[in-house]
């Protein structure tokens, strides 16, 4: 009887250890699943953005697609989309959301203001804090020159700060957004020639 009790005790210990191992593995797999799901969302964001930018040559639709990416995927309802003037001296507002369009209608490059200075530098600018003045400046480039830009002024309250996927979206907008805008503008010019 003593040996039966000992055997039962050993078996229980083995089973307990196995359960602990399985629980630990379960937690690890759940964490890994969450990582994969997040990665999936990130890839979905990038793919959807690319699709939306390039599925049309209608300039208005391209601009709307850029706005939708910023609103729904990045998380901001305060932005301006600018196009560079022919002389390269200024940026003209072509569409906006949640900002004073009159105030931002023309930005002179290097005018000393936050936006003008960012435009003069011609590089991606990310504010150290997500403030209303300028959260991000995203230059859109074709053949090495800036043809347009997106300025983001503040994030939605529930979005604390920009995340790694947002920077990847900015990279995508910087190149593919530029190409989509350029092609849609070229298409417009050809159509109306």
């Amino acid at each position: 009887m003593m040996s039966n009790l000992l055997t039962a005790g050993v078996e229980e210990a083995v089973l307990r250890e196995r359960v602990e191992r399985l629980e630990s593995e379960n937690v690890r797999l759940a964490d890994r699943l969450a990582e994969i799901e997040q990665q999936n969302v990130k890839l979905a964001n990038l793919y959807v953005s690319l699709l939306q930018l390039h599925e049309t040559l209608d300039r208005k639709v391209v601009v709307r697609a850029i706005k939708e990416v910023i609103v729904n995927l990045v998380g901001s309802e305060k932005m301006g989309i600018f196009e560079m003037t022919a002389d390269g001296e200024a940026m003209r507002l072509v569409d906006s959301m949640g900002i004073d369009a009159q105030h931002y209608s023309v930005i002179h490059i290097g005018d000393g203001g936050l936006l003008g200075s960012a435009a003069a530098r011609g590089e991606l600018f990310i504010s150290p804090a997500a403030n209303d003045h300028l959260t991000a400046f995203i230059p859109l480039r074709m053949d090495g020159r800036i043809i347009a830009a997106i300025a983001v002024f503040g994030l939605l309250p529930q979005k604390g700060s920009l995340e790694p996927v947002d920077f990847e979206l900015f990279d995508l907008l910087s190149t593919q957004g530029a190409m989509a805008l350029y092609c849609s503008s070229a298409s417009f010019r050809v159509g109306h020639a």
Binding site: A34, E37, Q38, N40, V41, A44, N45, Y47, V48, S49, L51, Q52, A65, E68, V69, V71, N72, L73, V74, G75, E77, L156, P157, Q158, K159
Partner: protein
């Protein structure tokens, strides 16, 4: 049998993103682009869950939610509102309109999937 989800948003970007994130081997997805269409499709298709934007043309998500709740055939369908408006008063209005749950944009994929599993069960 696949669970049916009605996705409602006037943004094609959001609809595409939701369709990409949600596993089509588990869910059957249909879409609507405004509140009016959402109410009609909810009555006709009887989805297992509705994922609905708030700010939309013709009829807002809040109004559509009330209409869906008022209809006998759709009264019990879980409705998750998806919106940029995360302020307390908007959340409160969402629940007052009859929504079952609320998530804010930009959508957190794992959070969305977790809520779907809660309302529709595991696959």
């Amino acid at each position: 049998m696949k669970k049916r989800i009605l996705l409602v948003d006037d943004s094609n970007t959001v609809l595409l993103m939701e369709k990409m994130v949600l596993d089509k081997s588990i869910y059957e997805l249909t879409t609507a682009t405004d509140g009016d269409e959402a109410v009609r499709k909810a009555i006709v298709e009887q989805p297992d869950l509705i994922l609905m934007d708030v700010v939309m043309p013709k009829m807002s998500g809040f109004e559509a939610c009330r209409a869906i709740r008022d209809h006998r055939q759709t009264h019990d369908i879980p409705i998750i509102l998806v919106t940029t408006r995360g302020e307390a008063e908007n959340v409160e209005e969402g629940y007052e309109s009859g929504c079952s749950d609320y998530i804010t944009k930009p959508i957190n994929g794992p959070e969305l999937i977790s809520k779907l599993r809660y309302y529709l069960g595991e696959a």
